[in-house]
Amino acid sequence: MASSLSEELTMNASATPIPVKIVVAGGFAVGKSTFVGSISDIDPLTTEAAMTKASEEVDDLGDATGKKSTTVAMDFGRVALSQELVLYLFGTPGQDRFHFMWDELVRGAIGAVVLVDTGRLEHCFPAIDYMERAGVPFVVAVNAFDGVLRHHPEDVREALDIPEHIPVLVTDARHRAAVRDTLVGLVRHAMSVAATNA
């Protein structure tokens, strides 16, 4: 952490790469796992986290006795961008009641891709609300299921009341090139946000 990025990048190629992270959000069954799997170098993996309602206060398991715990699973993939950079893509847990994990997921992230199924527009509301409130750079990506785009992106923007500065893109979660272009769109947006905040 103490060394600068340039120092890190000039280290030899066998040095540990720098990890970066993008969050893939959206409603249940909108294609998040497919999106991640289409570009990941590895078969997507699943990590599980155990949570108690009072997990923030629980330091010692002894205190947790009798508290109901929940297990939340997150799928993720890994993409080597260069010798020095590795990108992790984390899918958000689908259910609203797992929003407590999102703080963890977005911490330090480049930003988020909010996947939208135009057949079930309302399913992406929680994700959009969350990213707006948390100040996470995000793009809305309309997933063209079966290669069919049922609604024009600008109609989706209007229906969801997405501000002008947030890109609304079309993607196809099954295709690597479309997924890559969506990630490029997010990174460009994150750069414009970073430039504005600098």
């Binding site: 540990t16 790469p17 796992s33 699943t46 990590t47 599980e48 699973a73 330090g108 890559r180 970073a194």
Partner: protein, 122 residues
């Protein structure tokens, strides 16, 4: 992304923190994507390590994220964090996260440019 019904995790559901002596907080701050790499000291210590610590040290001969360690060892994320935190403090592994010059916890412009170049070369 859904509640898992994978039985492979089940055996750890009962008492996942037995492996950590009941601790649920890691000794060092470890983001999900923090990359963990085995040190020479870690390699040298292998013969004396318990099963899970041995697995982590072996796995991280090539850098792995905390999330990957959790997934490969089929242990909960928090358990992986505590075990890795201990190994960091003992010098058996080293961790790497992105440094940033930005005022937020987001990657800075220079890093974002590198990411953009990387994505466009895919």
């Amino acid at each position: 992304m859904t509640e898992s019904n994978d039985d492979s995790f089940r055996s750890f559901r009962v008492r996942p923190y037995l492996l950590t002596g009941g601790r649920t907080r890691a000794a060092v701050d470890l983001p999900l994507e923090a990359l963990v790499r085995t040190t020479e000291s870690g390699h040298a210590s292998l013969a004396t390590q318990s099963r899970e610590r041995h697995q982590i040290i072996t796995l991280c001969a090539s850098p792995q994220s905390v999330a990957e360690i959790s997934a490969h060892l089929k242990i909960h994320l928090q358990v992986a964090r505590v075990l890795v935190g201990d190994l960091v403090q003992e010098g058996h592994v080293a961790t790497h996260v992105a440094s940033t010059q930005s005022t937020t916890d987001r990657p800075d412009l220079r890093l974002l440019e590198q990411v953009l170049d990387g994505l466009q070369s895919l």
